[in-house]
Amino acid sequence: MGGWARFRRNRLALLGLVLVVVLGLTAVLAPWIAPYDPARQSLVEKRARPGAKYVLGADEFGRDILSRVIYGTRVALLVGVLSALIALAGGLVLGMTAGFAGGWLDATLMRAVEILLAFPYLLLALAIVAALGPGALNTTIAVGIWGIPAVTRIVRGAVLALRETEYVGAARALGAPGRDLLRRHIAPNILPGLIVYATLFMANAILLEAALSFLGLGVQPPTASWGLMVSTGRDVLLVAPHVATVPGLAIMVAVLAFNLVGDGLRDALDPRMRGST
């Protein structure tokens, strides 16, 4: 049974895929589907409860929360995709280098990876953002760097395992140049694992961006970022709980969507890992 057939039979994974597609469309179509300008303020309507005019209510500045949640999709997905690319690119280069070079270079790189992985979750990203300063781009970089060590380890492991297989040995013996070896034999074998990792990474990246923005160290106002929206809503939590809680729901849905797709892909593409978390 092919990967797609297996994926399709998993209803939760399909639900996740639908959600991801909806999120993607929302991000692309934001200007057309948002009922209001996300930056439009209306101070007389500040903290308006959800109702006919503002479906999800209005925030501290009377801005429409629904429109801001819709625009927030752009920030979340953009930071997620770009940081995933950074993590994949960095991890591929370092992992391939370590795997193919071996010796002291491999040992040094893997020691460094271990040290980076020893950082408790969030703390490495915090340290990087602390140094870079806040902002959307710096958040993306921090989240991306946070992902590099794990990708490096996956890629190196795959390279080491594949280097020993007969068909790579045969291709080598036949005199295939390194670049060919990489493209024709090694890359296709690493790809499924990386796709799974990248999808699950998206979920974590969205969470991390939201967390950094919530702390005030990520995306800066007035950009509509979900984490930032939760953070501003926190100040009025006791008088207008919807301001903080509604954007948090968006984060949860997005993270859930990517987690579902990632789990489904893992079960479909890599049957050996099925059921292991």
């Binding site: 040290i115 980076l116 969030l122 990087i128 602390a130 809680t245």
Partner: protein, 307 residues
């Protein structure tokens, strides 16, 4: 056993050196000079130079790194830039609160996560299993700072049962600890389920059942004891998650711990304090994982014999 502990502690030293190195290098390499940020854009060149010299930033990176490591080895973590207090004293004030929070969360996570996972594995595909798996999916997807706010709305605002924030009594601890524990409960429930399911498929479980051992004894004596190794490993890894989560939870609940101190340090551009806080977190992580490794010996006689 003792040699094992000593060897592991010695192995932790390069990791900690590396952590300090990475943090200092990150701060050093990336753009955005600490001093300019501290003094503002319009500071005179003279003032900048003076502060740089005062903080030792005029020396090359390698010198500063070795200097810092040498001082840390003597127990001197420097003085915080903002408060001008010894960093060690600031950290000493904050860490008990974080320890209290994370230990409480870890206990909640272990109790509920393992119980739910075992129940899921014993009755796979039952209604409970379905609900538990759905619940853990949500638990893994909820941003922790948001969970905290939702719990505040429900238990403080609507039900008026628990305080909104702060520390001091057990009732202050409940919401932050539960908030921090939830993702770990979810993770542990998932992991425990698959670990116990794997063990229940083993031959020795079938043998035990075949010779008439009761189902509860099969679980307690055979299944759980063997499933505990992956579970304990995950518990150790979760402690790292908990420390990161503590930064967010402490911010949400105004909990006076290391996480909040660290965020404050970042906002105040207090790199000396930040370095100290990261070092404490990393040290705690190393110690916890050492304890995890040691516990293998207790859980698995095979490991104990080798050790």
């Amino acid at each position: 056993m003792l040699t094992f502990v000593v060897r592991r502690l010695l192995l932790a030293i390069p990791v900690l050196l590396g952590v300090v190195f990475v943090v200092m290098l990150t701060i050093d390499l990336l753009p955005g000079d600490a001093v300019t940020l501290m003094l503002g854009e319009h500071a005179t060149k003279d003032a900048v130079a003076k502060l740089r010299e005062h903080l030792g930033l005029d020396k090359p990176f390698a010198v500063r790194y070795l200097d810092y490591v040498a001082r840390v080895a003597r127990g001197d973590l420097g003085r915080s830039i903002q408060q001008n207090r010894p960093v060690a004293a600031e950290l000493a004030d904050a860490w008990p609160a974080t320890l209290e929070l994370t230990v409480a969360a870890l206990l909640i996570a272990a109790a509920f996560g393992i119980a739910a996972g075992v129940a899921s594995a014993v009755w796979p595909n039952s209604l409970f299993d379905a609900l538990a798996r759905l619940g853990s999916l949500f638990g893994l997807s909820m941003p922790i700072f948001w969970t905290g706010l939702v719990l505040i709305v429900i238990f403080s605002l609507w039900l008026n049962w628990l305080p909104v924030g702060g520390a001091g009594s057990l009732s202050h601890l409940v919401l932050p600890a539960v908030t921090l524990a939830l993702p770990s409960v979810a993770m542990l429930a998932r992991m425990t389920r698959s670990a116990v399911l794997d063990v229940l498929r083993e031959d020795y479980v079938r043998t035990a059942r075949a010779k008439g051992v009761g189902e509860i004894l099969v679980l307690a004596r055979h299944a759980l004891r063997n499933a505990f190794i992956p579970i304990v490993t995950l518990l150790g890894l979760q402690s790292g998650q908990l420390m990161g989560g503590a930064v967010l939870t402490e911010t949400v609940f105004a909990w006076p711990g290391l996480g909040r101190l660290m965020v404050k340090a970042i906002f105040a551009r207090d790199y000396v304090l930040l370095q100290g806080a990261v070092l404490v977190f990393a040290l705690a992580f190393v110690i916890i994982n050492l304890l995890v490794d040691l516990s293998y010996g207790l859980l698995d006689p095979r490991v104990a014999r080798q050790g």
